[in-house]
């Protein structure tokens, strides 16, 4: 596919300094259309900082960031909505976007939460909220999608669901995805390019190359780094997001 070569964003030796230390240094990476680039690394390794540079929320203090699209959607790692603000799911879906009711339902449907349309944001469970966050991002039909730990708080089956959805977005919308993730299964089986961070780039490349990299094995340990296969179990039925059984 020739459109695969559409460069969306490019970090060149970029770093962010916050007194008294560098949060991250020397990051070079690029995201192209239809590509999933994953950032992995321990807590405090600079994953979110790198994502925020790509979104230009943070300016690089050294190096450079070049972005070639303005059609961006973002799923932040943390988002607290105060009770003072009454907010239904549908209001949240329209936060930065003009959407008809049908478009809202369609997007919620993609992450399996169309039943939450009129619910208060404050009443959602962690997993439901993540699904709404992802639906909102999909509704924007972005060219570049930045997902900062999009499956946190989602149950096991839900996690697989959401990762499948993410994989589908990249194919269907042909958008580039920058994903911050802890889930090595998904990272290794479904992403195109992995960047392993720990204050700097430890190693980066195709998943198949990364898993053999010494720096990677050192960072994640012999045992976890080998868990390569994407676990799938036989199920004679499927669950809806609310737990009910369907066939």
């Amino acid at each position: 596919m020739s459109s695969k070569n559409n460069l969306l964003v490019n970090l060149e030796n970029a770093g962010v300094y916050k007194s008294p230390k560098w949060l991250i240094r020397g990051v070079s990476l690029e995201v192209k259309s239809g590509q999933i680039v994953t950032l992995i690394g321990p807590n405090g390794s600079g994953k979110t900082t790198t994502a925020k540079m790509v979104l230009s929320i943070l300016e690089p203090d050294e190096g450079s960031m070049k972005r070639y699209t303005d059609k961006i959607a973002y799923v932040p790692q943390k988002i607290n909505i105060d009770w003072t603000m009454p907010l239904r799911v549908v209001d949240f879906m329209r936060l930065t976007n003009y959407l008809s009711d049908n478009e809202v339902i369609e997007s919620l449907n993609q992450t399996g939460v169309e039943n939450l349309f009129n619910e208060q944001i404050h009443g959602l469970s962690g997993g439901e909220f993540q699904r709404v966050l992802l639906a909102r991002a999909i509704a924007k039909k972005p060219e570049l999608l930045v997902l900062d730990e999009p499956v946190q708080g989602v149950d096991f089956n839900g996690e697989i669901d959401l990762y499948n959805i993410i994989k589908n977005i990249s194919t269907n919308l042909n958008c580039g995805i920058l994903l911050v993730s802890h889930d090595l299964h998904f990272v290794m089986s479904a992403t195109d390019h992995v960047v392993c961070l720990n204050g700097h780039i430890c190693c980066s490349g195709k998943p198949s190359a990364i898993i053999k990299d010494k720096a990677y094995i050192e960072l994640f340990g012999e045992h976890r780094s080998k868990t390569l296969t994407y676990y799938q179990h036989d199920h004679d039925h499927t669950h809806n997001s609310d737990g009910s059984v369907s066939n």
């Binding site: 979104l55 929320i57 961006i72 932040p76 105060d82 003072t84 603000m85 009454p86 239904r88």
Partner: protein, 267 residues
């Protein structure tokens, strides 16, 4: 039509309530109530300067409020003192400077109580025009920047990342806030303006479940507070500002009742 001072006060007050509704909601969503207070305190300095140099009061208050807002942004870059400390510093220093300056103006007849608590007797036809035209401009601007402002209120990073330019609109919002304080000084007084911003919005939150609804109900509660408050003030010969706020707080207490009922029904 506006011959009667009371009619003039009512029309002005309703105009103010319509502007303080949406702005008040944003103030409480953004936890800016103390910021509103600071602007209102500095308004005293604005009024004093207006008398000293015979300027239009609303204009002078607006300029001083805008200067204070800019000063705050500047101070935040220069020191690591917390926001509330800086606001306290600005609020009380401008209040003090205002009061000192009033001392120098002893030759001019100056109703300080009216300034602090509002004075319906002094509302003129020009005030009505100022509030309604100024208010209309504020609401039109607010309408056009609402989406950006609202998204930044929910989550700044998200709004910024998705190109809503929240820093620009936050700045405009601050100016609008300065504007509404300038417009309502005469009616409510400097000490109580924040009350009219916050209380109707807070009461509205208790009985609504989405942002638009909250804004409209806040406006309604504001209008009710102004209307009943002014009639009470006329009847009991009390200051207009405090009377309006007392009614607002009574409405707030009433707004809590449905919450309690809901709690009981769920049990």
């Amino acid at each position: 039509m506006f011959d009667d001072f009371f009619t003039r006060a009512l029309v002005t007050g309703i105009g103010i309530a319509i502007i303080t509704g949406p702005l008040g909601c944003l103030v409480i969503w953004r936890r800016l109530s103390y910021f509103g207070d600071t602007l209102a305190h500095s308004a005293l300095l604005g009024v004093t300067l207006a008398y000293a140099f015979s300027l239009n009061i609303a204009f002078s208050v607006f300029v001083i409020s805008a200067v204070i807002a800019l000063l705050l942004l500047n101070l935040q870059k220069r020191t690591r003192l917390a926001g509330d400390s800086l606001l306290g510093l600005l609020a009380h220093s401008t209040l003090a400077i205002g009061l000192v300056l009033i001392g120098f103006l002893s030759s001019i007849r100056f109703d300080i109580m009216g300034l602090l608590f509002g004075d319906i007797l002094s509302v003129t036809v020009e005030d009505i025009a100022l509030v309604w035209i100024g208010g209309f401009i504020i609401l039109v601007i607010l309408y056009f920047i609402w989406k950006s402002l609202f998204s930044a209120t929910v989550n700044f990073d998200l709004a910024f990342a998705e190109g809503m330019q929240p820093n620009v609109y936050n700045m405009i919002f601050t100016l609008l806030l300065a504007g509404v304080i300038a417009l309502s000084i005469k009616m409510i007084g400097t000490l109580l303006i924040t009350g009219l911003l916050i209380i109707p919005a807070a009461a509205s939150r208790n009985i609504t479940n989405n942002p638009k609804q909250m804004v409209f109900v806040a406006i309604l509660i504001g209008i009710l507070s102004v209307t009943i408050g002014l009639f009470t003030s006329l009847e009991l010969n009390t200051s207009s500002g405090p009377s309006i706020i007392v009614i607002a707080i009574i409405l707030f207490i009433i707004s809590l009742i449905p919450l309690e009922l809901r709690g009981k029904l769920q049990k």
